[in-house]
């Protein structure tokens, strides 16, 4: 711990504020980029003069903000670049609190992480960590995600060690959901850091970063929590409605299975006008007409009479519902598919009693026979099933995004772990879901 001091750069005499504690060893002048040794009379140790990379970031030295309930001051910055995959670069801002010590705010293409030294990591060597398929720390299973080497590209402000341009550090990133542990090996010692993904807007607000300086997150970050709250809620609601719809469908299937009230055949040589007695107006009355060919079905005109008055007619071209009292067309409907060999007509007959169903051949020369069945109290589940399938689709959207996220997560992963069959539980889930869909289509498609 120490007080805030002001010194002059021993190289360029620029004023420098020392904001950190007693563990700070170097300060890099923001003006001339000289690295001064605080443990040896501010001697110039090295210089970042020729370093071109000094891009502006939303955070600056001296900024204060509250993170994780702790009031921090940004006292230093160090930038790294991966040695192999050079696009992977990031900047770590050293945070200091007189009461709670040091922490890091890591900035990587708009993604922000909070890191603090971990003291509970098991006693493992670098090689042991590299070869582990998982490491348990504080009862959380962490899996190795990436291993790489990075070098220092830029330093500014205070640091608790002497960092020079090009200094290399080896890293192993361990991941468990939106938490991670970074293992750092600089050749002298191994250090462990707990990483936590932060909401960028909250951090910008906490450090009062002007809106024009705030960056949007770019690309994928393995610690970024998966979040689709709208689709998650939609999925949950859909599931509940699916359960309700399922119960309704079962109830209607049981209660509205129907009762056969007429069954007869009609042919081109023998037109029929069969009476049937309707004893219930509950649900709908279903008329099934089945032919052995398309041509045979299209050769019939179907008419329904109540007390000798035409109330419904159906041909291959059109369908009409007639007003029982006036005898005029009250509603025009579409007819059946020309290629159909069988049809089901659902009618909402409002009165019980005797009805007559006639089937007249259009051309008595065309050889055609049809089988006719009439069922009363028949429930029609098509709309319910379609609605249920729609709900099922809404239910799946969220899991589609989850699956997509996990695929991306795994494709970005650089370390292969020994996976158990349970790691593929999502794949099994998908198989089950698609099996249910196919079964539903087969089951209800037959109607």
């Amino acid at each position: 711990m120490s007080r805030v001091q002001s010194i002059k750069c021993t190289n360029c005499a620029a004023p420098l504020n020392l904001l950190g504690g007693g563990r700070v060893e170097t300060v890099t002048c923001s003006y001339c980029t000289s690295v001064l040794d605080l443990t040896d009379n501010y001697k110039v140790l090295s210089n970042f003069k020729n370093v071109k990379e000094r891009h502006k970031l939303p955070f600056e030295l001296g900024m204060k903000g509250k993170l994780k309930e702790v009031e921090y001051t940004i006292i230093g910055r160090i930038s790294y670049m991966e040695t192999v995959y050079v696009e992977h670069s990031w900047s770590d801002f050293l945070l200091f609190s007189p009461l709670y010590g040091y922490a890091w705010l890591s900035y990587e293409h708009g993604h922000l992480l909070y890191s603090k030294r971990n003291r509970t990591f098991p006693n493992l060597t670098w090689e042991e960590i590299e070869n582990r398929s998982e490491v348990v720390v504080d009862r959380i299973d962490y899996k190795p995600y990436d291993a790489y080497t990075a070098k220092v590209t830029y330093v500014e402000g205070e640091l608790t060690w002497v960092a020079k341009y090009g200094d290399k550090t080896n890293y192993i990133d361990l991941v468990s959901s939106s938490f991670g542990i970074t293992v750092e090996n600089n050749g002298k010692e191994i250090e462990f850091y707990n990483d936590e993904y932060l909401d960028a807007t909250e951090v910008y607000e906490a450090f009062s970063v002007p809106k024009e300086k705030r960056d949007k997150e770019q690309g994928f970050h393995p610690l970024k929590p998966f979040s689709k709250p709208f689709f998650k809620t939609l999925s949950k609601i859909s599931l509940w409605f699916m359960v309700i719809m399922g119960l309704l469908i079962m109830a209607f299937m049981f209660d509205g299975s129907g009762k056969s009230i007429a069954s007869f055949n009609a042919s081109n040589i023998q037109p029929v006008k069969e009476p049937f007695a309707l004893s219930s107006t509950k649900y709908l009355t279903a008329i099934y007409v089945k032919a052995n060919s398309t041509k045979a079905l299209n050769n019939f005109n179907i008419k329904l009479f109540k007390d000798e008055k035409l109330i419904f007619s159906l041909t291959k071209d059109n369908a009409y519902i007639f007003d029982e009292t006036t005898g005029k067309v009250s509603k025009r409907l579409g007819s059946w598919e020309r290629r159909a060999k069988e049809i089901i007509v659902y009618l909402n007959l409002e009165k019980t009693g005797i009805y007559q169903l006639s089937l007249l051949p259009v051309d008595s020369a065309i050889n055609s026979i049809v089988e006719v069945k009439v069922r009363e109290s028949s429930s029609r589940l098509n709309y319910l099933v379609i609605f249920t399938l729609l709900l099922f689709f809404f239910f799946l959207i969220y899991y589609f995004f989850v699956w997509q996220y996990k695929r991306k997560h795994n494709s970005e992963k650089e370390i292969d772990n020994d996976e158990s069959i349970f790691d593929h539980i999502d794949d099994w889930g998908q198989v089950i879901i698609w099996t249910v869909v196919i079964l539903l289509i087969i089951f209800f498609g037959e109607d």
């Binding site: 711990m1 007693g22 003291r119």
Partner: protein
């Protein structure tokens, strides 16, 4: 002047700053304690704290300097009148108590950081100069004397500290503490 611990040996008078040594014969004035500069701290003398739902009463503290900064060793009285030490070094908190354990090396001076000794990993060797104390302590201290220590990690947050000042080795065993878990009893 209240004494809160029955094994207290050294007390700083809060009024005049005198250091008083307590022995079998009585109290002995051994000099003037240097006044410690006030620094922000989570702990306050005689203000009880809770760590993992256990009560501790801070009775005294020793400050050690390492050049640019310092760390403090807080003497705490536990629930069963036991002696605990809470080391605070810029956000690093370790709660320990004296331990009688055998270590897999002869001298802590020969231990090298980064090497493994049995189940222990040597993580830090350091020294600091004792610059002063406040409150009461269970032993006498020498202001200006260099204090040497060794940290041995047992993994999982478990730590053993060996103090080897003046050729006398004292062993402490404990755990790293998350400072956010320290709560004041009377906030």
């Amino acid at each position: 002047m209240d004494i809160h611990f029955k094994w207290t040996k050294l007390v700083a008078c809060p009024s005049c700053g005198s250091s008083i040594f307590l022995n079998d014969k009585g109290a002995e004035l051994i000099g003037k304690a240097s006044t410690l500069s006030p620094e922000p701290s989570l702990l306050k003398l005689h203000d009880p704290i809770l760590i993992n739902n256990k009560n501790y009463l801070p009775l005294g503290k020793i400050r050690y300097s390492y050049g640019r900064g310092f760390w403090e060793e807080w003497f705490l009285k536990g629930e069963s009148n036991q002696e605990f030490w809470l080391s605070i070094d810029e956000g690093d908190f370790v709660l320990e108590k004296r331990a009688e354990i055998s270590l897999p090396f002869k001298s802590p001076r020969a231990v090298r950081v980064g090497r493994r000794y049995g189940s222990y990993l040597a993580t830090e060797v350091g020294e600091g100069e004792c610059v002063g104390f406040e409150g009461e302590l269970p032993f006498a201290i020498n202001i200006g004397k260099t204090h040497n220590y060794l940290h041995l990690s047992k993994g999982g947050g478990n730590l053993v500290t060996v103090e080897f000042t003046d050729g006398v080795d004292k062993i402490f065993q404990g755990k790293w503490i998350d400072p956010l878990t320290i709560k004041r009893v009377y906030s």
